[in-house]
Subunit: 207 residues, 4 copies
């Protein structure tokens, strides 16, 4: 193994350290409320050193977003394989999303907010993020297709549209706008109930 590989690995590890630190701080305080100085301090580096690894603060943020998306995509794949029929696969994908939301709430928020933060700033990483997310969500479409073929799902649905509607629904029922959250609470409804209800609704409409 040539030296350059070790160097490369070390560099990668340092990047990882920085993201680790930034992640922790952002999960706790939010992107707007932490500074590059905080990240530098947390990762025991000089402020200027951060700029050797990342173009700017937004790029650090996007790196966290990429991580989250990678985790989510991995869970999608894993759960996808757990389902036998197409319909089951759809259900599993929903469950995977829910698990991601519960187990990695920080990443969930970052994914959600990365658009306002990093959008319109032509960072190459933004493209990467979009591509990865699409890759993950397209599993819904694949499952629908399989479901139609194995007859676990109605054949008269449009897989493309349904893919979008499914993904949207689950994404949005997880990430409730505060108004909705308030409405929910006012009616003594738990978030879990609402999520289950939505999943059921979706699944029923496919059978």
């Amino acid at each position: 193994m040539p030296i350059s590989d070790r160097k490369e690995r070390e560099k990668e590890m340092r990047r990882k350290d920085i993201i680790d630190t930034a992640e922790k701080l952002i999960f706790e305080n939010g992107y707007e409320n932490i500074t590059m100085a905080d990240i530098a301090k947390g990762s025991e580096l000089a402020r200027s050193t951060l700029y050797l690894y990342f173009k700017n603060k937004k790029e650090i943020y996007l790196s966290i977003s990429i991580r989250g998306t990678q985790i989510l995509n991995k869970m999608f794949k894993e759960y996808y394989n757990r389902g036998e029929t197409g319909l089951e696969k759809v259900k599993m994908l929903m469950i995977a999303f829910y698990k991601f939301y519960k187990e990695y709430p920080g990443y969930y928020d970052v994914n959600w907010l990365s658009y306002p933060v990093a959008f319109n700033h032509d960072l190459p990483k933004m493209k990467e993020v979009k591509r990865m997310r699409m890759e993950g969500f397209s599993l819904f479409g694949k499952a629908l297709q399989e479901g139609i073929e194995d007859r676990s799902i109605r054949s008269d649905i449009d897989p493309v549209k349904t893919n979008l509607v499914l993904a949207l629904s689950i994404q949005n029922v997880l990430n409730l706008p505060p108004t909705m959250e308030l409405h929910m609470k006012n009616n003594n409804l738990t978030h879990k109930e609402l999520i289950d209800y939505t999943m059921d609704l979706m699944l029923h409409s496919l059978e």
Copy 2:
């Protein structure tokens, strides 16, 4: 009419001027990309004068958000009354939302983004915004209730949950995350098609 009233009116007008300016700028460039200096310049006031009318930049933003919500709520009410049966009212509410999205895209975005911008900053206005939005969205619940009573809607649905799911679905299909938008384009699907599909899906599930 006491002087203080005139003063109050004048103050209100000045506030309006400022919001008008900020609105224009924000619709064109986005909240993050305009500065208090821009707003000041546009409204021909000094930067510091803005603070006589608004606590801070976020409050200006929220004021725009309130405007948008008022417009939306007005449209909701109007369309609500156009429907005869409960089901029709639900449909009309959806259409109202769509019209708002088409006719006031600026307000739509502001409403959508006001949470990340102004959340967690205990501005009294934030509460006001939440209350107003809930008021608007609760019309869905009212329509559902009526629909159950007049038998245009299945009686076995949970009006509270369904209210939430309906509102969420329509809200989110309008405001597609960029990933979804990309997915849509990749599959030669127009936004309008997706919106119609979602509306149909929702309405069918109620009959």
Copy 3:
């Protein structure tokens, strides 16, 4: 007197304060060895405030240089008028320069070093500095002309060339390069002796 005048005056005074501080610090420590933070601290202002008054550090430096040049030019004019004949005027100008060097050594150095510091940075102020210095030195030419006319100076000299040679000589004998200084000391010669010698030489060559 309109308000804007008072404002203008106050602004000018603040500029003056900053230059005062910077001047003191630079005279004591040299341009390279002081920071904008030092100047800010010394003038009891925030670092960012300095940039409201000056484009950058170099511009502050040039402002000091302008001051020095103004003082020098004033002394030139004053001493010029003390001489009766053209020859005396030339002598007085030399003495003025020497006095400036003795009484304002800080300014003398700044004037001298302002070229390497601020040159090639197209600050409008640099042009101003050059113009002012030329104005001052051209008094030598005027005195020579007068001297030729009143016969205190040989008529066969070229006033333009001589102007330059005179100004150069006096300027450079004051601001000895370290090598020369060393040479001087090695030969038990004082700076004053060398200066007087040069002045005499110049004056004799004019008679």
Copy 4:
């Protein structure tokens, strides 16, 4: 020949390479406008490697200055020997200086500016530079002495003072401050004319 000698030679060659590169860059862009990174790149070394050969940036600069001084001194010696009488030797020395200025303008500037750059930084090299320059300039004194003895030069001049004045004059007429240059141009005078005039003036005053 021991190994350490070869090592030493190689090290010396590497030093030479670095100075070559730095010289080229500095002649083109000026000391302030080039970076250690530029020099490193030009000499195909790492930035940090430069510090194995030179204490710091100033030392590189001084090394160039030494080179220039060596060339100048060599020219001084050569031209000194071309003159028969003392007066001729003085003239030749002036011509040597002028030739140096014309043929090695880069070195000329470096010599001139090396004081503000490297002064007050107790680099041993600075001493060396001073010593070498004094050595060169003292030839003027030697020539004057000879001239007095061979009667080509007036016997009533002070050789020490005159040495200084001569060296200063010629040095400064070559390296005109920008103000003087401007003054010259405004009066349609060429630099060459001014130089010749100064040389004549000096030589006449010695006869």
